[in-house]
């Protein structure tokens, strides 16, 4: 941990956790997309993949700007949900992942301020909307 980073250790820890989650999400959505047989589902998975990849890159850039010289990298592989042999199973896995993302972004909202929080608020809404692409239903307070 560099001297510059040590001024905001809590923020760095929070962003590191978020980055680790994004690495996993990128892996998951890439894997799910290869298993979708229907074009609309593949397209929706592609939207999620692109979003989480962009979020991953933004978090990595933010940590670099904070002086973090050891941000978490992607694992070689992540455990995938069992039995992804149907579009229904792929859809359910995607929905669960986006719901988890909404909750994680809610944590990020609570743990950050300023521009970091503004980004997390926007991501929370975006993931909540993407839930609908995977059969999710609108809720009163997503992520709470």
């Amino acid at each position: 941990m560099s001297a510059r980073m040590s001024a905001q250790p809590h923020l760095v820890a929070t962003l590191r956790a978020a980055l680790a989650s994004e690495h996993a999400a990128v892996y998951l959505f890439a894997a799910l997309r290869t298993r979708a047989s229907q074009r609309p589902l593949a397209d929706a998975l592609g939207v999620s993949y692109d979003f989480h990849r962009a979020a991953r890159d933004l978090l990595a850039e933010r940590l670099a700007a904070l002086g973090d010289d050891a941000p978490p990298g992607a694992a070689p592989a992540y455990r995938l949900p069992a039995d992804l042999g149907s579009d229904a199973a792929v859809t359910a896995a995607a929905l669960a992942a986006e719901q988890a993302a909404v909750t994680a972004y809610g944590d990020l909202v609570a743990e950050t301020t300023g521009a970091d929080r503004a980004r997390a608020v926007a991501w929370m809404s975006a993931s909540a909307v993407r839930e609908l692409s995977f059969g999710g239903t609108p809720s009163t307070l997503p992520g709470l």
Binding site: V102, Y105, G106, D107, V109, A110, E111, T113, G114, R117, A118, A120, V121, A122, M124, S125, A126, S127, A128, V129, E131, L132, P138, S139, T140, L141, P142, G143, L144
Partner: protein, 168 residues
């Protein structure tokens, strides 16, 4: 000018978030049936030095945030209420606004309906919901209490889901 009944304490708003978890504590504070008012301790107190009135509550930095969201939400709820039978989508929006006001501790906050162009009702409502979502998102960033920030972010996300699911 702020309507007195729309002015809420952050304590109420945050209390609503964890109402279940805090219910026993709040009951103990408010005093239920049979609760006794504690006797003031006067023995040994110098009456001349004692405060003559209850000290003012500490300033709540998030009060303007809560007031702004309650006011805007109550206004839109009142605006949409007359149209709730036209579309299930509109009825759902009214219910969501009501739930959000309850989460902020203001289930009965008054709101003045704003005239709406019924010739293009869905588009008008979508636009107003988008404006409310933007306001709530902005206030989520401004909130000092992290629990309030998270609640407001969740409210904005809920509105985003409804906007995305608007009838064509």
């Amino acid at each position: 000018m702020q309507q007195p009944s729309a002015t809420l304490s952050r304590r109420r708003a945050l209390g609503a978030i964890g109402a279940l978890a805090m219910a026993p504590l709040l009951a103990a504070c408010s005093g239920g049936a049979g609760a006794r008012v504690p006797e003031p301790v006067v023995e040994g107190v110098d009456r001349l030095r004692a405060p003559r009135s209850t000290p003012p509550a500490p300033a709540n930095a998030d009060q303007p945030v809560v007031d702004a969201v309650v006011s805007a939400t109550a206004e839109l709820r009142a605006t949409l209420a007359p149209y709730r039978r036209r579309e299930a989508w509109i009825a759902d929006l009214v219910d969501v606004h009501r739930a959000h006001l309850a989460a902020l501790g203001a289930p009965h906050a008054p709101g003045r309906p704003v005239p709406i162009d019924t010739a293009d009702l869905i588009a008008q409502i979508r636009s107003r919901e988008q404006a409310l979502a933007t306001l709530v998102s902005t206030k989520a960033v401004a909130a000092q209490d992290p629990r309030l920030a998270r609640l407001l972010a969740a409210m904005a996300a809920a509105l985003g889901q409804r906007i995305a699911g608007a009838p064509a």
